[in-house]
Symmetry: C3
Subunit: 350 residues, 3 copies
Amino acid sequence: MTIKDIQNYLGQFFDSVELEGSAERVISGPAKIETAQQGQVSFVANEKYVKYLSTTEASLIIVHPSVSLDASNSATSFLKVSDPYTAFVFLLKKFALPRTVAAKGIARTAAIGEGVTLGEGVSIGEYAVIGDRCSIGRNTVIGAHTVLLHDVAVGEDTILFPSVTCYDSTIIGSRVVIHSGSVIGADGFGFAPQSDGSYVKIPQMGIVEIGDDVEIGANATLDRATMGSTLIGRGAKIDNLVQIAHNCRIGEDTVIAAQAGISGSVTIGRQCIIGGQAGFAGHLELADGIKVAAQAGISKSFLQPGISLRGYPAQPMRDQLKYEAMLRNLGAMKAKLDRLEAEMQELNMK
Amino acid sequence: MTIKDIQNYLGQFFDSVELEGSAERVISGPAKIETAQQGQVSFVANEKYVKYLSTTEASLIIVHPSVSLDASNSATSFLKVSDPYTAFVFLLKKFALPRTVAAKGIARTAAIGEGVTLGEGVSIGEYAVIGDRCSIGRNTVIGAHTVLLHDVAVGEDTILFPSVTCYDSTIIGSRVVIHSGSVIGADGFGFAPQSDGSYVKIPQMGIVEIGDDVEIGANATLDRATMGSTLIGRGAKIDNLVQIAHNCRIGEDTVIAAQAGISGSVTIGRQCIIGGQAGFAGHLELADGIKVAAQAGISKSFLQPGISLRGYPAQPMRDQLKYEAMLRNLGAMKAKLDRLEAEMQELNMK
Amino acid sequence: MTIKDIQNYLGQFFDSVELEGSAERVISGPAKIETAQQGQVSFVANEKYVKYLSTTEASLIIVHPSVSLDASNSATSFLKVSDPYTAFVFLLKKFALPRTVAAKGIARTAAIGEGVTLGEGVSIGEYAVIGDRCSIGRNTVIGAHTVLLHDVAVGEDTILFPSVTCYDSTIIGSRVVIHSGSVIGADGFGFAPQSDGSYVKIPQMGIVEIGDDVEIGANATLDRATMGSTLIGRGAKIDNLVQIAHNCRIGEDTVIAAQAGISGSVTIGRQCIIGGQAGFAGHLELADGIKVAAQAGISKSFLQPGISLRGYPAQPMRDQLKYEAMLRNLGAMKAKLDRLEAEMQELNMK
């Protein structure tokens, strides 16, 4: 692919893609600017990387039109776009090799149950187990060793990496990606305490429903509802080792970082961003667009859209920052208090 | 099943099950009161749901005898019991379909080692691997892709969902449930530091023993002991993504919520409740009946039974609440201090 | 093995191994001192266990030369070494039975791709899946159900326990141990936000590289780099349920305890010790030899080698302890403030 080809490709996404330098060089692939070699393309979207512009060996750099370029570096061409980062993401997509999660077709060793419906172009890997009455949409890829219990429905163009487990009656949308080791639809953690201190298990009769365009990381756990559905809204992104308990509702395009834990019956709005290792008490609600800091502990509902939360127990960012500033100021408070005490003693002795 | 049938069924568990309304309607299944339709049964155990009593379309509601009913709602019958929540749990159990984790019998593709003992009615799913000399008790179900290394002993009526891994010599009781992705008996995290900064692995020669009636969630990890056993007491309930390190002892009927982490050689008493994401330092002990709040950090032993712990480092609830109130009061303290300082300056200037 | 044999064996590692008591007794295996029986060997490395020396039934105890022994206990022999704990670890290694993770050779049911290179003595368990062009070094053991996608390279004498998943192009060194359920090389959590609130996935084109002598616990997740490599240095030890995000670099001989989470592009130096459930913000750096307390939240880089960090946000131990002492002192501050206020009122009334 030449620089000219890349200019044309990016022209699909940006109103203006201005070239400075040679259009003819062949670009073999993308690289980080610190390590890019001749023949590679990189980008600068952050001031802190501008310094590399004069030393890089990359043959092409994507930059913002406002960046002033070193005209003497004639071995490097530049493409100027309004959002170099997104442009580079599109280039990554362009250069990404097609990934073979499972060979085309149904592996001879896959165990397919009765009454299964398979769309055109479905791939199923070695030793995958597909329960009775499952349906798998067009071009969906089921990795080796992935297990679907009975009555699971998977949409089109979805990828389940190897060793995913979906319990019975799970519903998964189209263009979903689920990484290895994740368990979808295991029983919610519900036990009724008895008078002797033991517990009776509460049957978990609901399911998990995952909307279109969702991505779920590795070794995450999404529990089925007690009744009804645990819902993951369209476009939500859920990182590795996240816990989503029974009856949660995660809004569309909400992002949940690694190791966060959402207790039962929590409702999170659309376009929220939940930091890593954050924890939620049960039965509470977050409005749309709320940001939760890493390791925060959410102990009650927050219904004002778009606010940022932090701390344990979490509170709106402004209150929390004020509170943290006060904590940092404790030493000064103590010093002032001791000084006042000394002055008071002096006064009292007069 | 008619309402009369349900009344009789609940009569096994409750001294009094009083009916108000028709006994003849047929009930097809349970539902949440907010969404229940004609032909379904629901319950009210919490004041906040009483409002639904007048609008629900459910054909049967389980309520407490003290609830005042709307006589005009003739499409709904009511059963009055002393504990509507537990009654509803028993109804859920009644309506729950038998779950097919693995088809009856031994799947043709299961790899069974030498000297394996299988009880009557054992089911083993596709591609399960059972190591040499394992024993599996009556009616136990081993899901597809579950792996038992050598010498594992599993009791009766136990369910291992698909893709559970049990290392060699693990002992699992009867009526145990282990969800997918959990790893039982991996090596404890033990390394002896050497003078050059590297580590020598300490062989983990012990095992994991899981008592009867234990439930373990998805993707949990329970490490084998260095020597002796890591013990999970009868009836304990362990949620998803929980870490139990080597040589821990978890008491009977103790509940551990998702993502909690118990370091090595911790002993937790009976009927404790450990909140989600709580963490424990190693080599400490909790007495019976202790409650630990979510995200708490337990840094020392607490030997007084039944107390509640919270905070980081965790302390008894009363101390912690007092401490938290003082923190919330910091702004007022600062204001008072500034006022005193001003008054002092005034005095000094006199 | 007689006590004499053990004395000779330990002589390989210690300059001096002095025997007190009989050299002839046969030792059958190791045990904890509290429970050791006749014929077993144990050790005392900690004062708190010295009390057991007079009551133990062990036939051999490893002790430090400084321990004063009870001469009347003629049923027990003693070996005196400068580091009884490490001596005992070497004894554990000596007594450890060879573990059979997979039977010798290639299981008939293993699915081996095209162009795979297998070293001498490789074992591959039942239903393992080895992708095209993988290479596996001499004497390496691949457990049952472990899946390697295409182009994975594994060194010599490495053990992958059952149900490990390695994504394409992962590189694993020699003498590495990876426990069950861990997922190596899943996609980093990278999504470019779009103006409509949705996200475009950033292709994760890099890989994971794991150095020699690394051990990784159960159900850990190590994500592939966006470009380049996520690196785990030689000798690092990573516990269960740890999250290592894309583009991290973990230094040699660094230890990371269970459930810790390392965000993207974090660099951790050599010989660091990271406590359980600790969390790291992205794009930061820790110098060599830094210790991070359990549950700490690292929000910025720390470049001074060897310091200890604690708290949220974490700060150097001395600052943090001072800060925590001040917090504990809040009640006294409040009392002093109230007293000063009363005195001031009195003064003002004069």
